[in-house]
């Protein structure tokens, strides 16, 4: 039996408890938004994807069966799927643009600025194939364990490790100028 720290809140949300909905939202929204932002690289679209995921939560909470899967795993899976849907709806031109490597030659002063640094990391993440990006988001930024991340992505742990290794290799090469 899985011990789920969200089980009680989800049950209350299912009964229409607004305070529980607010608590659940505050607990998960920052991580979900960060995940969607890194997946989509577009703050407006990321908010829309998160809103779709929460709408799914609000309508399905009453039917949630505790003990079958961890709630957070389900919620991340919904969020990632909403991001995949949006990525697939994007025109090809945008996907090509996303796959373009950013100019890796900023001056050393710019490297010292956090904003500029974050921008370059975001661009490097954005250029990764979507499944590699999702694996990095879950294991590195969301701090999911390997089994949980594989479950969220509906793949085996071996497949997850392969995605992570390829993603990290690409990032290492694209961000090498930041580490010199």
């Amino acid at each position: 039996m899985i011990v789920d720290p969200d089980a009680e809140l989800v049950a209350r949300v299912g009964r229409g408890d607004r305070a529980a909905a607010q608590a659940l939202m505050r607990r998960h929204l920052p991580k979900m938004l960060a995940l969607a932002r890194r997946m989509l690289s577009d703050p407006i679209e990321a908010e829309d994807a998160v809103q779709d995921a929460f709408m799914r939560l609000w309508t399905h909470a009453a039917r949630w069966q505790p003990g079958q899967a961890k709630f957070e795993t389900w919620l991340y899976r919904v969020t990632i799927n909403k991001c995949y849907d949006r990525l697939r709806r994007r025109p090809t031109a945008l996907l090509e643009e996303a796959a373009t490597v950013v100019d890796p030659a900023p001056g050393p002063e710019a490297n010292l600025q956090n904003a500029a640094l974050a921008e370059q990391i975001e661009a490097a993440l954005k250029a990764l194939p979507e499944r590699q990006r999702a694996a990095i988001q879950l294991c590195h930024y969301q701090e999911c364990g390997n089994i949980e991340a594989a479950e969220i992505m509906d793949i085996s742990v071996e497949a997850l490790e392969s995605l992570l290794a390829r993603g990290r290799r690409t990032l290492r090469s694209r961000l090498s100028h930041l580490r010199e």
Partner: protein
């Protein structure tokens, strides 16, 4: 699939773990962490690999999580209110159906009500109505009678 936690760590497996999960042991698979940490302590090549991986970890950590706007929070809670309203309406219909036909699935009373309505409409449209029409002469008698002292002045 979980790996066998009792399996010995090998150089290639250690390299695969660090390649995938980075240099922070906290991110390594829990069932292999202990063996991997032992390997790390005993191998200078492993230590060099971890240092290199930590370098990328630190770079990636520079990207901070975005702030959550209060406008987004409001939108999400508005969504909750709408969903709750829809659910209440659904529950109202379900309760009404249960009162009409206790224990039956919701579609049964809905089906019976729908059929009753359809039959009623068919009767109204197609069945001949045999309503007796009032007699015209009786009407005129009534009309004459209803005028007080109509002919008395003639």
């Amino acid at each position: 699939m979980r790996r066998d936690s009792s399996a010995e760590m090998t150089q290639s497996r250690f390299a695969a773990i660090v390649d995938a999960y980075g240099g922070d042991p906290a991110r390594w698979p829990p069932d292999e962490r202990e063996a991997a940490e032992r390997w790390l302590a005993s191998s200078s090549a492993a230590q060099a690999q971890v240092l290199e991986a930590l370098d990328l970890d630190r770079t990636l950590a520079a990207q901070v999580a975005p702030d959550v706007s209060s406008a987004l929070e409001r939108r999400l809670m508005d969504g909750f209110d709408r969903a709750r309203q829809r659910r209440s309406l659904g529950e109202f219909y379900a309760a009404a159906a249960d009162a009409l036909w206790p224990g039956a699935p919701a579609w049964q009373p809905a089906f019976v009500l729908g059929m009753a309505l359809a039959v009623g409409l068919c009767i109204a449209v197609f069945a001949p109505l045999d309503i007796p029409q009032p007699d015209e002469s009786a009407g005129s008698v009534f009309a004459l009678d209803s005028v007080p002292d109509a002919g008395q002045g003639i």
